[in-house]
Symmetry: C2
Subunit: 344 residues, 2 copies
DNA sequence: CTGAAAGCGCTTACAG
DNA sequence: CTGAAAGCGCTTACAG
C-alpha cells in the first residue's frame, strides 16, 4: 500500500503538501502540483478512504435501510425500481450506497445505531414508512440526515418524499365508479404501513362521496406479495355478494389477484374489473394488461437521494422538507368493462 | 460523540482497557469488564467504525459491482433475486454491502480501484461475467478477494459461482425436440456475456446431436430486456421460414417475446412454443405460463456471499474456487404443444 | 506557497 | 490483569 508519506518522500515534499495537491488546494504552485500528481500516477497512489473519513468526519456514503428482512423484499419489483432511482442519483453525486437489511425488527434499531453512531454513513434512506416507527423518532432525535419514502406525522426534522396516496386511491376508485361500478372492493397491504392507510382513505372518500356502500368484508388486508392477492380472491369471490371491481394496493398483488380469479373461473374485466398501483413494467404485459396508478417510483428514489444529499451538503437546509411526486392513472384493459364501448 | 477516552476517564481505566473490554479480550477481570460495559451503556458509546477500520485494515463490507448503469439493471428481476440471496447471507455473517454502479464502462475500473485500493471494502462481488473483462484481470492481479457470478477462463485466483449454462440450454432445447419440434430458434442476450455464449453452445449441441438444422437467422442477439424480445419477434416472425419453437435467454425477454407474438397474431403454444431461463416469480403467472429453467438465482447469490466471506476470513483458502448451482427445467404451458396429448 | 505538529478514534505489541 | 506509547493514513490550523 502506497501512502501519502511515500509520495511525499519520492517527490521531496512534505505529506501536507501532497494532501493539499490531492484536495486541489489553491495555494499550491502548479509546478509542485503537477510533479506530485505525476508521482502519484507512477506509484499508483490511492487515498485510504477510512483514514480520510476519520479526520474529515464524512463518509460520502448513504445507508439504505431495507424494510424488514431482505427475504421478502425483492419479490416486489417496486423496490428494484426505487433502488434504481436512488442509485442513479447517488452515483452521479459521488455517494456510495450501503445496503442494510435487518434480520429482525429489534435488530433493526441496533443496525441503524451502529451505522449512524459509528459514523459509518452520512445519511439514511428509509424505504417504507410504518405508523409510529421507533427508527424514525430515533433518527429525528439525533437530527441525523434522514429521508423517508412515505410520511410521518410527528417528526418535523425528517425529510420525506411521497405520493399523494390518498388522492391516488381516490382517482383509482373514481375511475371504477365512472365505469359504472357500484360494488367496489379493496385489496390492501399491511395496515401498519402509512401507504396502506392513505390509499384506504382515498378509496373510502370516493365511495362516500358517491354514496356507495362501504362493506367491511370487501376490504382485505395482506402483504405486498402475489400470494396475498391470490388468497384474497379465494375469500372475496366466495362471498354471497361479490364486488364487481377491485382496487388493489400493488401490481405484484394484482398479479396474484389475476391468477386467483383465473383459477376460480372469473374473467377480467368481464366479471370483475381491476385497478392497481405502482405500474411496474410487467403490468402492461399481464393478460389482460392491468390498469395501474403510476406513482413515479424511479422519481421517488431519485428525489429521495437528491434531497438527502442536499441536506447533508448544506447544513442549514433552506429547502423544503417534503416533496410530493405526482401520480397518474394508466388505464388498460383490466378496468374497461366491455372493451370498445364504455358502460355509461 | 462519546469516544473510548471518555469511557476510560469515566471508568477510571486506560483507553487500552476499554478497547480490550469491547473486543472481549481474555485477560480482563470480569469486574473491570462489567463496570466498563455498564458505563458504555450509560453514556451511549458506539465504536467509530472508520477508526476501527483504519487500524484493523478490515471493513466488514463487501462491494457489489452492478453491471453497467443501474439504469437498465433492475428491469430484469433476476438481479433483485440475486441481491436478495447475497444480502441474506452477508447480513447473517455480519457484513455490510456497498452497492456501486458505474456511470460508464471506463468509469467502472476507476470505481473499483477507488474501493479496492482505498481499502473501503474487504471483497468484491461481480454480478455478471463478460468475456475478457479488464476488471476481473485487475482484481485477480491484485489477489483481491473476488467472487464472480459466472465464469472466467484465465484467472485462476478468482472465485466463481455459476450454473452449467451449456447443459441448461441443452436441456431446454432437448425438451423442445422431445415435443416434436425440428425448427428451433434462439433469442439470445449480448454476445459479450459468458452466459449468452454458454447457453448458445448448449442450444447448438442439442440441435447438432439430433441432426437438426441450425439456421443463423433463427438466432437473434439482444439485451436482457422485454423490449429486446419484442423486437426479436418482429424480425423472426416475418421470415419466410419461421421456427416452431424458441429458446429464450431470460424470462424478462420471454415476456417481450410473448407480447410480440400476441400482437402479431400468433398463439403460444399453438403456433410457437417457448422455453426460457431464470424462472422468475412472474413466469408462472404469464399467459400462458412460461416454461423456464430454474437456475437457483437466490442460491447463486447466497453462495457467492458465502464463498467470498470464507475466503476473506481464512486467507489460505483451502476451499474450492468454483461452485456450480444445479438447474432444473420447470415445464409449463408455453412449451406443451397441445396441452392434454403430447405430440410424438 | 510549504512544512512541522497535532489530532481524528481506535488497536496492539511491549512492559510490568 | 492493566497502562503508556506508538501508530493506522490522512487533514488542517498555525507559522513562516
Amino acid at each position: 500500500m502506497v501512502t501519502i508519506k511515500d509520495i511525499a518522500k519520492a517527490a521531496g515534499v512534505s505529506p501536507s503538501t501532497v494532501s493539499r495537491v490531492i484536495s486541489n488546494h489553491d495555494r499550491i504552485s502548479s509546478a509542485t502540483s503537477s510533479k506530485v500528481k505525476r508521482i502519484m500516477e507512477e506509484m499508483g497512489y490511492h487515498p485510504n478512504i477510512m483514514a480520510k473519513s476519520l479526520v474529515s468526519k464524512t463518509t460520502k456514503t448513504l445507508a439504505i435501510m431495507l424494510p424488514r428482512p431482505a427475504e421478502e423484499l425483492f419479490k416486489d419489483f417496486f423496490f428494484g425500481e426505487l433502488l434504481r432511482g436512488i442509485l442513479t442519483h447517488s452515483t452521479i453525486a459521488g455517494y456510495d450506497m450501503l445496503l442494510t437489511a435487518a434480520t429482525s425488527p429489534m435488530d433493526e434499531k441496533e443496525t441503524v445505531s451502529r451505522l449512524v453512531f459509528g459514523r459509518r454513513v452520512d445519511g439514511v434512506i428509509l424505504l417504507s414508512s410504518r405508523v409510529s416507527d421507533p427508527l424514525i423518532s430515533m433518527l429525528d432525535k439525533q437530527q441525523f440526515p434522514t429521508v423517508l419514502i412515505g410520511r410521518t406525522d410527528e417528526q418535523a426534522g425528517i425529510l420525506s418524499v411521497d405520493n399523494d396516496n390518498e388522492q391516488a386511491a381516490y382517482d383509482a376508485t373514481k375511475h371504477l365508479i365512472l365505469q359504472g361500478h357500484e360494488r367496489i372492493g379493496f385489496v390492501s397491504g399491511p395496515p401498519n404501513l402509512t401507504v396502506s392507510l392513505d390509499r384506504m382513505a382515498g378509496y373510502r372518500r370516493a365511495l362516500q362521496e358517491q354514496g356507495l356502500e362501504l362493506r367491511s368484508e370487501w376490504v382485505v388486508e395482506g402483504e405486498y406479495l402475489q400470494h396475498s392477492g391470490y388468497r384474497a380472491m379465494t375469500f372475496l369471490m366466495n362471498l354471497q355478494e361479490r364486488p364487481s371491481a377491485l382496487v388493489v394496493i400493488d401490481d405484484a398483488v394484482a398479479f396474484g389477484v389475476l391468477h386467483g380469479l383465473t383459477e376460480l373461473g372469473f374473467a377480467v374485466p368481464e366479471d370483475i374489473c381491476i385497478v392497481s398501483f405502482n405500474n411496474i413494467a410487467l403490468s402492461e404485459l399481464a393478460s389482460p394488461p392491468i390498469s395501474s396508478i403510476d406513482i413515479g417510483t424511479y422519481q421517488l428514489g431519485y428525489t429521495a437521494s437528491q434531497m438527502l444529499i442536499r441536506r447533508i451538503v448544506d447544513q442549514p437546509s433552506v429547502h423544503q422538507n417534503r416533496v410530493i411526486i405526482p401520480h397518474r392513472l394508466i388505464v388498460r384493459e383490466s378496468s374497461l368493462l366491455s372493451l370498445p364501448k364504455r358502460v355509461k
